[in-house]
Symmetry: C2
Subunit: 370 residues, 2 copies
C-alpha cells in the first residue's frame, strides 16, 4: 500500500476508501469518522521545534525502532517522509494519515524541508498512524469510521503502551505528558469527529451550532484542521482541553453529551428540508448533480461542495440508488483531491490540467452506473 | 392565433416560433431579428399623453377603421387590449408584438389601466403589428428574422401608405411627421436589430462594442427595450436620430456600415473561444446544459442566460445535433417566459410555481431527443 513505485490501476489501493470515507459505524449519516490522537515526546531529546538536525535524526531513529522493532511491527508500514515524493506525501495528507505540517517539513535551521528528518508508520488497515517529528516527536492517531471515539482511544492507548516498552517518554508527575505546545500538556489527548453538516448549512443553523460548540470549549474547524475552510460541509469538532480532565471524561462528554445533540440537530434539519422545503432541496441537489455530470473544469472546492450536496441527496432519497450511492460519493470525495487524481490517472498535471481531469473523472464515475 | 379562448395543445400557435425566433435570414447566427417602426399620429386628435378618454376612443376607432376596413384588412387580426386578459397581453409582449407600455395602459386621468382604450392589429404571420394609442396614436412595426432592415422598412412604409388612404396624419412640411415625443419627430422611423452576443460577453469585449455604438449615436439596450437588462446576451441596437436624415440613409448606415462590423466582431470572438479558449467555452456551455437539464427551480433570467450559452454551444459545435439544435433553443427561449409558460401548461401559476414549472418544461424539452 505504501509502495511509491506501485503502478496505478483499477485495483490500486489508493483508490479504495480510506477509513474516514468507509461509511460504516454508528451515525454514519452525519459522522464520517472519529479520531483519537496522543501527543508524546521522547525523554532526553529536545522538543522538535528546538531540535537540531542531529537531534531529529536521533528521535526519528528511536521512534522508528520502537514502532518497527516492537509489538506494533507486524501491522505497521514505515515511510521516511524526507525521502518520499511530494505526490506520495500529498496522498497521505488527503487520506488524513499525516498532517499538512508533517508533509511539508520544516525549513530553516540549515535544513531544507525535503531533508528534514521525519517519518510515519501506518497500519495496513489505515486506522492507526504514528507521525514522527511533527510538532511532537510522536503523534499517535487512530481514525474510525462513524461515531467511535472510545474505540479510537483504545487503539492509540494500546499503541502508546506498546511504544513505552522500549521508549522513555517525557512525563511530569505534576503536569502529565509534556508536549511542545502547552495546549497539549497533560493527557496529550485530542479527540475529534469529522461531521458532514449540509442540512445545517442549508437551513442556516450552522452558525448557531458553531457558537454553541465554542461556548462548550470545543473547536470547530474545516476539512483540513486549523484555519481551513469547511470544504464540502465537512466540519471537525474537537476538544480543546487536555489538562485537568481524565481521558474517560473527555470521551464521555463528547460521545454521550455533545455529539448526539449535534447529530440530532443535523438530522432535524434534513427532515425539515425533505418535508417543508423539499423543492428547494431537490433544486440544490440536482444542480450539484448537473454540475458534476456536465462541467469541463472543476476545482477541488467546487467538486467537494457538489459532492456534499450529492451525498445529502442520496441520503434523503432525492437521488435514487440507480444514479448514485454513498460509497460512490465517498470514492469521488477522495479522488477529486489533487494527489489522488494524479495517482488515479497515472500522470503529473498542473492546476489547469487537474481541473479538466477532475471534471472528466467525476463525469465518468457518474455516468458508469455500475 | 389571437383567439384568447383557444385551448392550449401541442399545435397551439403560441408555442410556435414567432418572427424574432424563426432563426432565418441573413447573419442569423448573430442577428435574431430586424425591426422597423414608424411613429404616426392622427391629425386633429390630441397626442395620446394629453388626450382625454373620449379623445382616445376617437383615435382608437379611427385607427381601427383605417386598418380593418382598408387595404391591410385581409391579413390583419384586431384585438382591443382594454378588453384582453392580462395573460394574452403578456403573450403579445413576449412575442414582441406590443410594448410593455401598451400592455399596461395608462392609469390616471380617471381611467383605470384596464379600461384605457387601446388596441393592436397583428398580421397572421406576426411580422406586421400596429399598436394604437401607445405613446403615439400609431406605432407601425415590422419584424423580420435575421438581418433584413430594408425589407422591414418596406413593410411599414407600405402599411403607412395604406393607412394614409383613409387617415389624415399629423405632418409638418418643416419638421416632417409630428410625434408625442420630440425624439421621434421627422421620419418617425426607428430601425433596430436584436443581436445575440454571447461571444463578446465571454471574451469581455461587449463593453467596447457598447461604447463604440454610443459614439455613433446608436442606442444599445437589453431584451425588452429601454432600461431593461441584456437578459440572455440579447442586445437591441437602434438609431437615435429621426430628424434631418432620410429613411434610406438611416437604413444604409446601419445595414451596410455598422452592423456588419458588430457581426464580424461577434464571429471573431466565437472563433477565439472555439480555438484558443475551447476548454473554457466547453465548460461554460456544458454547465448551462447541466443547469437546464437538472435544476428544479428556474427564473426566467437564469433560463435565458443558460439558453444563450446553449445556443452558442449549438452554433459552435460544442453541443452536437443529437442533443439540441437552434430551433429547439429558440422554442425554449419563448416558452420560459411567464405568459407562454402558463399558456403552454394551461394553468395560472404564481411566481414560485412558475419557477418549478419552467424548470420542468425545460428538462422535458431537453430530454426528448426528437
Amino acid at each position: 500500500m505504501l509502495d511509491p513505485n506501485q503502478t496505478p490501476d483499477a485495483n490500486d489501493s489508493w483508490n479504495s476508501p480510506t477509513e474516514w470515507l468507509r461509511g460504516e459505524g454508528e451515525a454514519n449519516d452525519v459522522v464520517l469518522s472519529s479520531r483519537a490522537r496522543l501527543a508524546r515526546n521522547i525523554a532526553g531529546c529536545p522538543f522538535v521545534p528546538r531540535a537540531s538536525r542531529v537531534d531529529r535524526v536521533r528521535s526519528l531513529d528511536a521512534a522508528r525502532a520502537a514502532i518497527m522493532a516492537g509489538p506494533l511491527a507486524p501491522q505497521m508500514l514505515w515511510l521516511n517522509l524526507h525521502e518520499a515524493k511530494i505526490l506520495d506525501r500529498q496522498i497521505l495528507v488527503e487520506r488524513h494519515l499525516i498532517s499538512k505540517q508533517l508533509s511539508k517539513g520544516r525549513a530553516g535551521q540549515g535544513t531544507g524541508a525535503t531533508e528534514d528528518p521525519r517519518g510515519v508508520a501506518v497500519s495496513a488497515d489505515e486506522r492507526l498512524s504514528i507521525m514522527v517529528n511533527e510538532e511532537d516527536h510522536l503523534r499517535i492517531q487512530s481514525i474510525r469510521s462513524g461515531l467511535a471515539l472510545a474505540a479510537a482511544y483504545r487503539e492509540v492507548d494500546e499503541a502508546d503502551d506498546a511504544m513505552e516498552r522500549s521508549l522513555r517518554l517525557a512525563f511530569s508527575p505534576r503536569f502529565g505528558y509534556l508536549t511542545a505546545c502547552p495546549t497539549n500538556v497533560g493527557t496529550g489527548l485530542r479527540m475529534s469527529v469529522m461531521l458532514h453538516l449540509p442540512g445545517l448549512r442549508l437551513t442556516g443553523d450552522i452558525e448557531r451550532v458553531k457558537r454553541a460548540a465554542a461556548d462548550m470549549n470545543l473547536a470547530v474547524r474545516g476539512f483540513y484542521g486549523e484555519g481551513s475552510e469547511a470544504v464540502g460541509d465537512l466540519y471537525q469538532i474537537s476538544n480543546q482541553t487536555t489538562l485537568g480532565r481524565t481521558e474517560a471524561a473527555i470521551i464521555a462528554s463528547l460521545e454521550t453529551e455533545i455529539l448526539p445533540r449535534v447529530i440530532e440537530y443535523e438530522r432535524l434539519s434534513r427532515r425539515e428540508l425533505t418535508s417543508r422545503r423539499r423543492l428547494g432541496l431537490e433544486d440544490q441537489v440536482w444542480r450539484a448533480f448537473g454540475v458534476l455530470s456536465s462541467a469541463r473544469l472543476l476545482t477541488t472546492e467546487e467538486a467537494m461542495q457538489c459532492l456534499s450536496l450529492l451525498r445529502l441527496g442520496v441520503l434523503t432519497g432525492v437521488i435514487g440508488p440507480e444514479l448514485c450511492d454513498v460509497s460512490r460519493v465517498h470514492q469521488m470525495m477522495l479522488l477529486v483531491h489533487p494527489a489522488h487524481l494524479q495517482r488515479a490517472l497515472g500522470v503529473s498535471l498542473d492546476q489547469e490540467q487537474r481541473r479538466a481531469a477532475r471534471a472528466g473523472l467525476v463525469r465518468g464515475r457518474l455516468a458508469s452506473r455500475t
